[in-house]
Every structure is written in structure tokens, then in C-alpha cells.
């Protein structure tokens, strides 16, 4: 399981192992200031990143961000 949330520390505290920091509390995988197309592209990035995290090995509750580092 991967949890996408804008308050990842709560997820980490309760022991969720794979966490992706979401866009905002009131719009987890979207952004209302963007155009429809831009917003869907952003959401696609979130989902693809979440899928990547599902395929990643972790051994402790880990918070990932949208940007892949390195």
C-alpha cells in the first residue's frame, strides 16, 4: 500500500511504510489553479510516482516526494 497525503507525518507516526507527500490537504492529487489538462498531467505524475513507490523496497516508514531525487 502507498498512502498519498499532504500531512505525511501523521501517516509516518501511525506506521504507514510507503508514503507520498500529496499536493494539499483539500486537493490531494490535483491543483485547482491549473488548466484541466495541466492538472490531469500533474495527477498522472502523482499516480506514476505512487506506482514507483509500490515497487520500491522500504524497511521503515518512509516519506517520498513527487520529485525523484538524483
Amino acid at each position: 500500500m502507498v498512502q498519498i497525503t499532504a500531512v505525511p507525518n501523521v501517516a509516518q507516526m501511525v506506521g504507514v511504510n510507503r508514503i507520498l507527500r500529496g499536493q494539499s490537504i483539500t486537493c490531494v492529487v490535483g491543483n485547482s489553479v491549473l488548466t484541466k489538462e495541466q492538472e490531469k498531467a500533474l495527477r498522472r505524475k502523482y499516480v506514476l510516482r505512487a506506482l514507483e513507490i509500490l515497487q520500491t523496497d522500504v524497511n521503515t516508514p518512509t516519506i517520498f516526494t513527487l520529485e525523484v531525487l538524483g
Binding site: 501511525v14 492529487v29 490535483g30 495527477r43
Partner: protein, 362 residues
């Protein structure tokens, strides 16, 4: 206390029950009439207020191999006696014995609703496993401490059955203070009368902390268990994924009655009819009073990314989207119920053969 003598059952392992040492640790349950071994000290301390009518004995290996099942087995032997009080051990630092004492106390306490009292050394694994279900008095780490430990257990027991203030254990007003009676806190909040407001008490606590005086919180923070991480998904293009959210997204009218606050329910909706490509934003509502719902009501895909998942499946990047969406509302719900709902949803998801979950939370 009424004039009637209380009926007491005492639990011991094979060693204290005078059956034998480690060579007898595999022995099953037996019942003996009256007190045995430490039970004699127990009877003495109880005086003429209670009678140890029987002693239930079981080998440590036999019991700890399957504590829940053994607890049930012990219960069947205890049932005919209709006890008023139940004691186990004390187990001191003995791990298997501690687990046995805790498990049988739990079974008896839950079945008969009577006080169940045992004793353990702080490092006994039985303490953390069973402290919520039994009064576990603090003892030394060996049987040298027997008399003192038993006196301790009895002092607590007399308080439990005293019925002081006319209060009931149910309301927890009669729950003895763990620090005053030397037992491991059961992690229960009890009601208490006080002349001070919460603001005054908070300032008092803060001052005590700042001045390095004795400080104790009125609130016990929940302890979260470490959950072993599941292995990573191997083949995404054959994997079935389910979308779950605790953001309270429900059809307009909230037919399953999720609560906006302190919610105790979860439900499922068929994703293709619930959130089709051409959805109407007036078809939804948010059963969650903890966030501003306007953006998600405008486009529920902002919470439940069904649109993108459908695209990825068409492109062959993901195997399958599970046909149901799991919905609940997480806002000021007690953590224990949250964990239960998680377990329930997890079990259902596993039963359906789904391999991975994307959970979105507000």
C-alpha cells in the same frame, strides 16, 4: 463488602502448583480443591473475607504454545465454580508463566466480568501483552518476593471490591490509581471530580514541568506498533490495484451514512458508476467535516484518481483497476477504531485477490 464470603479461583503453573519443574512443563490443565503453594499465602491474606475454593494448574509450555486456546480451555474448568474473584501467579520474571497468567486473566475477566488480578516483574512480556485486560501488580523478579507481592495484590483487590463512593467499575470512577496501588496502568482513562478547570490544570502541569517538579500527563498517548513493510510489487502490468480514500467521498445523500466526524464506518462503491469519465459534480458529497470540500466536489478525481488510473490501464502500464472503490471518513475517529477498520478493509481487499492499494488521504 457484603457478609457473604467471596469465591476465589487461583491459577498456577506446574512449578508453583507443585506438579514438577521443567520436565512437567508440557502438562495440560488440572484442577485441585482449595489453595496450593502461593495460594496458602493468598488465603491467609484474604482472611475470612474470601475462600480460595480451587486452584487451576497448567504447564507453562502447554499454555504458552497457544495462549488464546489454552485460555478458553481453562475457562471451561473455571466456569462451574462461578467465582467472584480470580487470581493468577504472581509470575515474577517468568515469561511463559506471565503470558499464561495474562491470557487466563483476560479470558476470565471478559467472560465473568469479575476482577482479575495477577503480578509480574516489569520486564515480563506478559505485562505489555495483557495490561489492558487485567490488574497486573508490580512484583520483584523472583519468588523471594511472594508474600509481599501477594499482600500487594490483595490490597488492590480489596479496593476493587470495596464499592467505595457507590461508584461502579463500569464508570471507572472506582478504578484505583495505578501509582497508588502499584499496578501497571491498564491504559484506561477514568472519570474524576476536580475543582479546577482544564485551563488551570494545564497551567499547573506546565509550571510543574518548568520547575522540574513531579509531572504526570492526564492523557496517555496511543502507542503505535511497527508494521513490517509488505514486499514491493513485482509486475505492475499484471497487478490489480484498488483505490481507497479516507476523505469521505460519497454519493449525494450519503446512503451508507458515513459520519463527518468520529466516523466508524467504511463502504464500497463500483468505481465505473460512482466516478465515471463524465461525472457530474452535483452527484457527490463529502462526509468529512475536517477540511474544505469545494475543490474535491468540483472534481472528485482530485481525491480518487480514477481518471489517470483508467488511462494507465489502457496504456498497459497497470494490470487492472479493482472495480470497487473503498470509502471511509477519517476525522477525529479514535485510533483503535481506525486500526480495526483498516484491518477489516485489508482483509476484504485480500479476499478479493487485489495486490496493491493506493490510499489517498485529506
Amino acid at each position: 463488602m457484603s457478609g457473604k464470603k467471596l469465591k476465589v479461583i487461583h491459577y498456577l503453573n506446574q512449578f508453583f502448583g507443585q506438579i514438577g519443574g521443567e520436565d512437567k512443563a508440557d502438562i495440560g490443565f488440572m484442577v485441585k480443591t482449595g489453595p496450593i503453594g502461593p495460594g496458602l499465602a493468598l488465603q491467609k491474606a484474604l482472611g475470612d473475607q474470601a475462600d480460595v475454593i480451587a486452584t487451576v494448574i497448567c504447564g507453562d509450555n502447554y499454555f504458552s504454545k497457544n495462549p488464546e486456546q489454552a485460555g478458553e480451555e481453562g475457562l471451561r474448568l473455571i466456569e462451574p465454580y462461578h467465582p467472584d474473584l480470580f487470581f493468577a501467579g504472581p509470575a515474577f520474571a517468568a515469561g511463559r508463566y506471565g503470558i499464561a497468567c495474562g491470557a487466563i486473566c483476560k479470558a476470565v475477566g471478559e467472560k465473568f466480568g469479575i476482577p482479575v488480578v495477577t503480578g509480574m516483574y516489569q520486564e515480563n512480556p506478559g505485562v505489555d501483552l495483557y495490561r489492558k485486560y487485567a490488574y497486573i501488580c508490580k512484583t520483584g523478579n523472583s519468588a523471594r518476593d511472594t508474600t509481599e507481592s501477594i499482600n500487594h495484590m490483595i490490597k488492590l483487590t480489596f479496593k476493587l471490591v470495596s464499592g467505595e463512593k457507590g461508584a461502579h467499575l463500569v464508570s471507572r470512577e472506582n478504578l484505583p490509581k495505578p501509582e497508588e496501588y502499584g499496578y501497571f496502568s491498564r491504559i484506561i482513562l477514568r472519570n474524576e471530580y476536580t475543582d479546577k478547570t482544564a485551563a488551570e490544570r494545564s497551567v499547573d502541569k506546565l509550571l510543574a514541568k518548568l520547575l522540574d517538579k513531579q509531572f504526570e500527563s492526564e492523557v496517555v498517548l496511543p502507542k503505535f506498533e511497527k508494521i513490517p513493510p509488505p514486499p514491493p510489487v513485482k509486475n505492475l502490468n499484471t497487478c490489480e490495484i484498488v483505490l481507497v480514500s479516507d476523505g469521505g467521498l460519497v454519493p449525494r445523500g450519503n446512503p451508507d451514512r458515513l459520519s463527518g466526524r468520529g466516523n466508524l464506518r467504511w463502504t464500497t462503491y463500483e468505481i465505473d458508476t460512482f466516478l465515471p469519465e463524465s461525472f457530474k459534480s452535483t452527484d457527490y458529497e463529502i462526509a468529512h467535516t475536517g477540511y474544505f470540500p469545494v475543490q474535491i466536489l468540483e472534481d472528485p478525481n482530485r481525491l480518487v484518481p480514477a481518471d489517470v488510473m483508467r488511462d494507465l490501464i489502457k496504456e498497459g502500464k497497470v494490470g487492472k483497476l479493482h472495480p470497487s472503490f473503498f470509502s471511509t471518513s477519517g476525522n477525529a475517529t479514535v485510533s483503535r477504531r481506525c486500526a480495526e477498520m483498516g484491518d477489516e478493509m485489508g482483509a476484504e481487499i485480500k479476499k478479493r485477490g487485489v495486490e496493491a492499494v493506493i490510499l489517498t488521504s485529506t
